[in-house]
Amino acid sequence: MDQTTLQVYAVLFVFATALLAYTARYFQRRGRRRPQRRLAGMGRIAEWTSRSIEANRPLHLALGGAAVGGDKTAIALAEAEFFYHVIEGAQASDVAPIISTAAGSSVPLGQDTLRRALPEGGDSLSRVHWYPGELAYAAAVTATMKEDEPAAHILAGSFGAELALMIDSADRRGQGSLALSDRLDGQAVAYAMADEVLLGEELFAAAGYASEDGRAQADAIVLDVWRALVIMGVGIALLLEVAKRMPWLNWALVLSVSAILLVFGLLIYRRR
């Protein structure tokens, strides 16, 4: 497939996404809410928010290396949306949340998020911390863990293995952690060490789970639809590839087996 064809497909994909988003939003407005799938990692956020309010301790929200203006702009925007809803939930706390970032261009985004989510903007200028460099960022965050004693850390952004330093430090101090990274090494560390973990595209859906905002929930639905389509596509491609290597396989056989499986499935379903 040449580059032009690819680009045309990409544009069509974007249009289809926009169409889906409008459709999902339409149904959201009409009140037809689709039950969202369960995101285990989101369950603790309410608990941590309450702790932040009751114990007068801030939440720490980490953007990591996601920068506005580069290829991670969308990740930074999705994080900001997610953090907006978390901050809104914790706004009753006497201590405003801290947002940390390793990218200078994300500082205004963090300040804007705090300003919008907190009553009268809070102290948004001094609650966004910028620490450039990956390990330097991790080290500075551990210092914050000691000095500000956050109730919990939501480390949802772009991290590498340095995530281990932060989660380990939080763990030793009894501070909860939810982690997610768009990078493979960071994601592995998050899975192994964090109290709660989100995976890949769940970052983009998280805002829909942390709020009842119709737009955010519609976006989560669009993501689910695309995800299902991609999984189906991969599955079909896999089946076709397997079928290619089995010369004895033919449509009659496939249909027969499918029919048998369908009947069995229906029987089991009815028994339950």
Partner: protein
């Protein structure tokens, strides 16, 4: 919300939408002169269409480059404030900042502090990172006592064993290579696919002026 504010929001949403669409179209058409066929002047036309994207992306690059100034201003503001509240680490940070600037100016651009201070400190941090990773790896089943946790530990051990340069472990090295090539490759692609889908959805939201920044 006042009328002026509403107009402001509408204007910013429109600007975002217009810039996004212009950039996307310019990239699509400008990068593909083949779309205009073989007629004379098609290359020039493509070049002309590519211009808006070039200009806008260059502007974005300049803004991003300037963001380091925002970062430094933020760093100083935040830590001066924290120093006033008695935070010790902020004092260390400000002192280091001042000393580095002084050193660079006084020594006329000498960057030896980078090698003498930052590289050793970051290397030490990387070593500490190993210890943290080790601790995390040793208690995976404490955090996630399920089949997936067990699988995770098994893979970690297998990969580590496979990386040992011991001739006796040659079969394990073959397994490790397979693991890294097939399941890890598949996992990485799945993760990237998910991120890409999310990026498109968020991008569309921003393009349509639905992002919170445009909502006032």
């Amino acid at each position: 919300m006042g009328r002026g504010q509403r107009y402001g929001i509408a204007l910013s949403a429109f600007v975002a939408f217009a810039v996004g669409v212009v950039t996307a179209l310019s990239l699509l058409l400008g990068d593909n002169p083949a779309l205009f066929g073989e007629q004379p002047g098609s290359a020039q036309l493509a070049g002309l269409l590519a211009l808006p994207a070039d200009v806008l992306l260059r502007l974005a690059t300049i803004v991003v480059a300037l963001s380091i100034v925002i970062g430094i201003a933020n760093l100083l503001t935040v830590h001066v404030g924290r120093l006033a509240r008695g935070k010790a680490y902020s004092a260390v940070m400000l002192a280091s900042f001042g000393f580095t600037v002084f050193w660079y100016v006084a020594r006329q651009g000498d960057t030896s502090l980078l090698e003498a201070v930052q590289v050793p400190i970051e290397s030490a941090l990387a070593a500490l990172l190993c210890l943290s990773l080790l601790h995390g790896g040793s208690r995976v089943l404490g955090k996630r006592a399920d089949i997936w946790g067990l699988l995770f530990v098994a893979v970690v051990v297998l990969v580590l064993l496979g990386s040992l340069p011991l001739a006796e472990l040659a079969p394990v090295q073959a397994w490790r290579d397979w693991l890294m090539r097939v399941p890890v490759g598949a996992g990485a692609r799945a993760l990237l696919l998910g991120i890409a889908l999310g990026t498109v959805v968020t991008g569309v939201r921003a393009l349509l002026g639905q992002d919170r920044s445009f909502r006032g």
